[in-house]
Amino acid sequence: MLRETNRHFKFDWTTIILFLLLVSFGYLNILSASHSGSSVNYFNLSQPYGKQLVFIFFTFGLIIILLSIDTKFYERFSSIIYIISILSLIGLFIFGKNVNGATSWYGIGGLTIQPSEFAKTGTALAVAKHISDLNTDIKNLKDQIQTFIIILIPALLIILQNDTGSTLVYVAFFFVLYREGLPQIYLTLGIIAIVIAVSSLKFGSVVASIIIIITITVYYFLNKKRPPILQSIFILIICIGLSFIVNFFYKSVIPPHQKDRMNLWLRLEKDPIKLERMKKTFAYNLNESEKAISSGGVTGKGFMEGTRTTGKFVPEQHTDYIFSTVGEEWGFLGSAFVVITFVLLLLRILHLAELQKSQFSRVYGYGVAGIIFMHFLINIGMVMGLIPTIGIPLPLFSYGGSGLWAFTILLFIFVKLDSNRINEW
């Protein structure tokens, strides 16, 4: 009996409180963004806020189930969960329902389920399982390739369903692998490639090339060991080549509507008439959401008092653009509160992951943090115009049953794993 009580109190309540804060604050904002008229029937199931309340209700049941299942289950059945996830993704090609151009939904009666949300958990479990296997060493090329394949299968299936946003989330596993010993060269090359690509687009290949030449020359002469000259020249040519290839690719291969998005993001479009047109077409959401956030000022207009929210100026506001409601009605203080809560949750998960004695739990914990971080980064970054428009929900906050449940499962499996760490060896 005593052991039983103790076990309940071993759950990490900090994580659970942060989780509850986000879910309940999210609900308030969904209520504000989706209600119409002055009287609100909180249980109106035809409205998003009514449905979300039901989703949240079921979430608590889900949590109890997740925490009751034995820890060993998750590790033992991770491969099977992964395979089911993959099958559910493949099934979409046959039974899938097309919503907003992406075939990523199952329609069952009035409900729709998005398997890609759950596939992230499956992949996180599978990666954790694979890396924690005694025979796996991530420093070996063979094991690296195997791990990549585990990650890439769901990623590719999702991109085939035209859901670019969800695919990008799989970048999260890079953080996991890096933590577990993926060679440094991947990080270095990755960063250099991103820097060269972005600066080539922003400043043009010629300027970018000059910067590359200067950087490498300076590096060459400052380095006491003097790397071989031929190797340096080879790297230089590769870098400059990349710069020109990126621009060529951008100019001739990328479809114009995506190019417009990039132009807007990189602030390359200077023509005011074209900018105005962009604001009326694809950048409409972004423009409206930025306006809504700005209009909130320091303290916001107050709960349910946002004029742009009430007027439904921001399309999709209760789903992907929910953060603009926070910005308008709760102002800088409320928005900063949400950002800080997310940061605290992520840091808490990382902290717990590092404490894990089993490698499986640690890798999984890293996966959880990575996935939530990618969502956080892309969603809020997009809503505030820091990164190009990519449709992806804000975890625990945005409207949607699949999303809420998937993140609950993702997070509470880790809470359960963590509660058992004393028993682990």
Binding site: I293, S294, S295, G331, A336, V339, G381, L386
Partner: protein, 644 residues
Amino acid sequence: MRRLLLYLSIILTGVLFISRLFYLQVYSSNEYNLDNDNAIRKVYDYPKRGFVYDRNGKLLVSNQPSYDVMVVPREVETLDTLEFCSLIKIDREKFIKTLKKAKKYSSRLPSVFVSHLSKEDYAILQEKMRKYRGFYVQKRSLRHYETSIGANVLGDIGEVNNTIIKKDPYYKMGDLIGKQGVEASYEKTLRGIKGVKRIQKDRFNRNIGPYKDGKLDTIPVQGKNITITIDAKLQAYGELLMQNKRGGIIAIEPSTGEILTMVSAPSYNPNLLIGRGRSKNFSRLYTDTIDKPLFDRGLKAQYPPGSPFKALNALIGLQESVITTEDKFKCRMGYYLGRKKLTGCHYHRSPLSMNEGIAQSCNAYFVNVYRRIIDKYEEPYDGMNVWSNHVKSFGLGNYLGYDLKIGNKGRVPDGDFYNKWYGKNRWASTFNISNAIGQGEVETTPIQLANMVAAIGNRGYFYTPHIIKTIEGGTINSKYTTPKYTTIDKQHFEPVIQGMYDVFNKGTGVALQVKDIEICGKTGTAENFMKINGKKEQLTDHSVFVAFAPKNSPKIAIAVFVENGYWGSRFAGKIASLIIEKHIKGHITRIDLEEWILKHSLKNEYAKPYSGEALKINRYSQLQIIEEQEYYKLKERLSKLQNQ
């Protein structure tokens, strides 16, 4: 080390997001203001604009409904364009052009299709309106002038311009505002305060309900009615007398400072600046640079005052004790300094004392007085300043502060003025003796002159001239009910007033006497110049006349000036005496004088500068008599006026 990558990425992202939020919400966000929120549509409820009555309670300005045809382009269905166009009196091309323009503005929102439909057109259109889908009629309120007189006093209203919108957030695009006259100076009283309803919009610009359940909405405050000091009958009479002449009449009630009449000729019918024809008519009036009908001559025409100014010099001389009423000065058809003639004079008895000096308007007499004032002090600089301060105490040389268009300051020179002109102390009283007879550097406007005689009639004080008599449910500015005192003691006024009375008895205005009314006045002429082909040319003098009556406890003080009317009693004096009689008696006994004024025109004089011929002025000017037909028209107007 490796575990730091995700930690740092998370923290960095958090910092980046909060900085971005700070930039968007704190740094670059303007203070949130409900009035600038374009998610809220404001619908204004315009109050009734206040009416304007004359001093006897006659309604001068009211409102009339006007009908605008509105269109919502997306709701328009095929219609009988020909019939519709004939109903609203436009042609097919205009129909297509306007519809296109409206569509370009918005296909969902209403825009004005045709504005200011007349009542008659509206009555016909109304019955057929339901046939034309997408069109509807909106009622607006326009001004209605119940009279054809006093355009310069009543003014007009028009759409606000951007400068005002920027300065005063009350006004929005398309609002109406007083542009001239009392409409402008009592704008805030007349307009009231518009009410506002706030309506929440959605992103398609549709109304989705009152914002905050209408808690912040306001109801309009009706505009207040005002009564102005103008006597409409007298004003109409004055305007009639000024037909075919240019100039101004200002009549003030000395005991109150109320402006009884304010004529500026040529004028226009105030109803021209209403509704559909407004912009066309306004630009026609505005671009008429010859007649300048929008130039309010009573307030703005600034000239040397001429002889009426002499009365002031007499008063100052007495106040400074440099002369007595009995001091006599010689006049040899002018004033001589040594052998040099400084100013001429006409023939009259000599030597003469103050009474005759004023009545005969002797130049030499006043040059002597003026020199004594200036030379009383060791330095002419000090004398000049003393003189200047006396003159200014009569409201000359600065804005009077009346509640109409600001007008002109006029000019009264002082010591510094001549120091700047000639160099410090390098001048003497002989340098500017023209000031003695009102022809030098002194310049005044007609309303300043009228106010000056009012102050003389009051024996030493005046009330700031004003146009407002009462405001419904309000009070008028106290500056119009507080007397302003001149620097001249009361006892000095009697001899000067006697002199002005004798102008009518035995002086320059004998012909202008009115039976049973003791008038005190002063004739004058004002030299004036015009640039013709880049050359400054002198034109026939302006005819000037100032007066007040009756002599004791005056009821009216008046200044009349008629452009190029030559000497004072030729035009201005006659008009002034007729106005005085009309005001005091209510009818005219000297029909011949009235007929003379109506019959005579100065149009030939005004045509001279544009004729291209050599100018023949003053004694070469000839009287012009108007055509019989026109004369009968004026007579008809006159009899209508008398029957009112």
